[in-house]
Symmetry: C2
């Protein structure tokens, strides 16, 4: 099954970086663009960012439910949860409920009834953080050694993140690295596509620092794509050559 | 499902490069190593290399059948087919037959009954080539623009191949690039592991040029891993920085 999405979040000492593609489809002839980044923020109090991968209609149902819970002034909403763990648990439960409700019908018609989320941000004085929320509703935070999370079509763009991103990486480098990772993925898989949304949250600011939506022709995206390709080719050219000297192994043929 | 394998073949003007990992398992506590590279060669007449991804027992059954067909002197064997297309068609049929025979039992016990192959080489005076053989028995050759094929856990190691490999790439560079691609994959996925087998076939030689099996501690593998990591980090450091100046978009929060 094509993944049709690539979203990632990076948690460094300076703060958080979120990135998401916008390609969605509802059948091979209904390619479209749709945001996969949802921001729940009250400046000075809390900022929560949600990135989604999976069934688009189900995602909308879940996001709508999250908003309605707030409008209904329920005790347990993204405006009320005490910390990010509680936020992740709450979103996981809403997601599981709605997947159970619509899942059977979707599966019967050949659609995938699953949605995976990344939830991150900061609530009050607690530490900023990022969590992966599985379709089953359970969740995990990122590792200390590789402080990033990915959902959707994650593999093409993982090696560069694993090589570059550490807790002490500056947010500016995390931003560039997210774009390189996103670009490698879009280059490899037509089901991941622009615009790319980027959002930066700075630790303890309790407000969104920066947001941008980068279209296909964004000059920075084009410049980075060309520069990275050239630098990879140059770097490859400087690798030590493989020498067959002294290697005398033989593979015995079967014929 | 974990893929448990990464194999690739590259077809450049100078000839062909084959690479395969050796990690297999038959359950989480039965990790083992096993060759996924099989050579059918008659020096001066034909060389055929087969790389496999998928169920290990089924692969063995297929490889055994290919050999027995030759021992039985059947008209249609890897020793007898007139060209690589016929070889791919023949291997695809044997694969499909044996998957059909064992598939139901394997699927019932939760195993995957599928095997995917890369077949490449040269027969007589025809062009060298590489083919991907699907579990269904159908096959395709590589594209002219990206003259390589991958099976198994292909995504982590694809971007570097797509950036470097062209028809005119020298075989020595193809060899290095295959190792970089393999190393990025092994670094990202524990189900792909050493030793890495490498085989070079030079156009029109009708014999295997070089073969090596590189263990975990192979000095060249270790040197390349460290050098590539350092060069990627350096290259990344030279990318243009992302500037938020003049970008005034705002993401409206839902709270």
């Amino acid at each position: 099954l094509p993944k049709l999405t690539y979203c990632l979040a990076i948690a460094v000492d300076e703060g958080l970086l979120f990135a998401s593609d916008s390609r969605t489809n509802a059948g091979p002839d209904q390619l479209s663009t749709h945001t996969k980044m949802h921001v729940y923020g009250l400046d000075g109090a809390r900022q929560i960012v949600l990135l989604s991968a999976g069934n688009v209609a189900l995602t909308q149902a879940i996001v709508t439910r999250l908003r309605r819970d707030m409008e209904a002034d329920f005790a347990r909403t993204l405006a009320g949860v005490r910390d990010l763990l509680e936020a992740a648990e709450y979103v996981g439960e809403v997601s599981r409920d709605l997947q159970a409700k619509h899942g059977q019908g979707l599966a019967a018609s050949g659609g995938s009834p699953e949605v995976t989320f990344i939830l991150g941000g900061q609530i009050g004085t607690e530490q900023p953080g990022i969590f992966l929320i599985y379709p089953q509703g359970n969740y995990l935070s990122c590792s200390e050694h590789e402080p990033f999370l990915q959902i959707g079509e994650a593999k093409y763009g993982k090696p560069v993140l694993a090589r570059i991103i550490r807790r002490e990486t500056p947010l500016a480098d995390a931003t560039r690295c997210a774009l390189v990772s996103m670009d490698s993925t879009m280059r490899s898989n037509a089901t991941v596509g622009p615009p790319v949304e980027l959002l930066v949250y700075r630790r303890d600011s309790l407000k969104i620092d920066s947001y941008a939506s980068l279209g296909e022709d964004d000059p920075y995206v084009l410049e980075t794509r060309a520069a990275w390709n050239q630098k990879i080719v140059e770097a490859f050219g400087k690798l030590p050559g493989f020498s067959w000297d002294g290697r005398t192994e033989v593979k015995t043929p079967i014929l």
